[in-house]
Amino acid sequence: MTKTSTSKNNVNLPTANMFQPRTDIESDAEIDLFYDQIKGKLDRLAKDPQEETINKILAYSRSL
């Protein structure tokens, strides 16, 4: 009896990259670099809720 097999190595399975949106102008590296450049600026936009809001939440919890 002859054994047959199929190599899995050359099968055209979809990869994550195949479904990435493509733009003709910008490369992934450019976008990544830009993100690195603005990360600090984005971080500085972070805000905390007022202490009063936190206290109301904690008071609600204690009231149960």
Binding site: A16, F19, T23, K41, L42, L45, A46, Q50, Y60, S61
Partner: protein
């Protein structure tokens, strides 16, 4: 008891067991991530405070009633609750999202209000304020992914689950959000310098 070294799941257990400090530590740990994501979506401090509070009241009620699924992670779960409350708000207000082309170019055309002369120093000083304004100009679905990824630190899998899209769609939206921000910043700089 030093709760700072506890992970979120342990803090949830501590809280469910009756120790209020568990909730306090969870709030301290995640308040900024959750609040910033809400605030940058609704653009109103008071509304963001209300939604943040409502989200945690739902969290408390769920934890106290024993309905919390311990398999899920705490932060993505709270973000889902907050996200749903934001959607509810927009539905109530009947505010429709900005319609854009696939790459968000319509947003790109909304920059007319930057047509003012300015010095280079002003450009630097304004960057902080401008970046916030530009984030607000992004299409809702792109803004959402950017905020969840950057501020809430969610994985693309978690974002995809939360917004009912595929991981690749979430990845694509993040990419478009960054690409559009980059284009808008470039345009703004040209306007200032021009």
């Amino acid at each position: 008891m030093n709760l700072q070294s506890y992970n979120d799941q342990d803090l949830v257990k501590v809280y469910i067991a009756g120790n209020e400090n568990g909730l306090q530590e969870l709030l301290k740990r995640h308040k900024s991530k959750i609040y910033t994501s809400i605030y940058l979506l609704v653009k109103d401090q008071y509304l963001a405070e209300d939604i943040f509070q409502d989200a945690f009241i739902k969290v408390i009620n769920t934890l106290r009633s024993g309905r919390y699924n311990e398999e899920g992670k705490f932060l993505p779960w709270v973000m889902r609750i907050a996200h749903n409350l934001v959607i509810d708000y927009f539905r109530r207000e009947k505010r429709t999202p900005i319609i854009t082309s696939a790459d968000g170019m319509d947003v790109f055309n909304m920059l007319h209000f930057y047509d003012e002369s300015a010095e280079d120093k002003m450009l630097r000083d304004q960057t902080h304020k401008d970046l916030k304004a530009l984030i607000h100009l992004l299409p809702d679905e792109q803004k959402e992914v950017l905020l969840m990824r950057h501020y809430a630190d969610l994985s693309f899998k978690e974002i995809a689950d939360l917004t009912d899209v595929s991981i690749n769609t979430a990845l694509g939206r993040m990419r478009y959000a960054l690409s559009n921000l980059r284009k808008m910043l470039k345009t703004k700089e040209m306007t200032y310098k021009g």
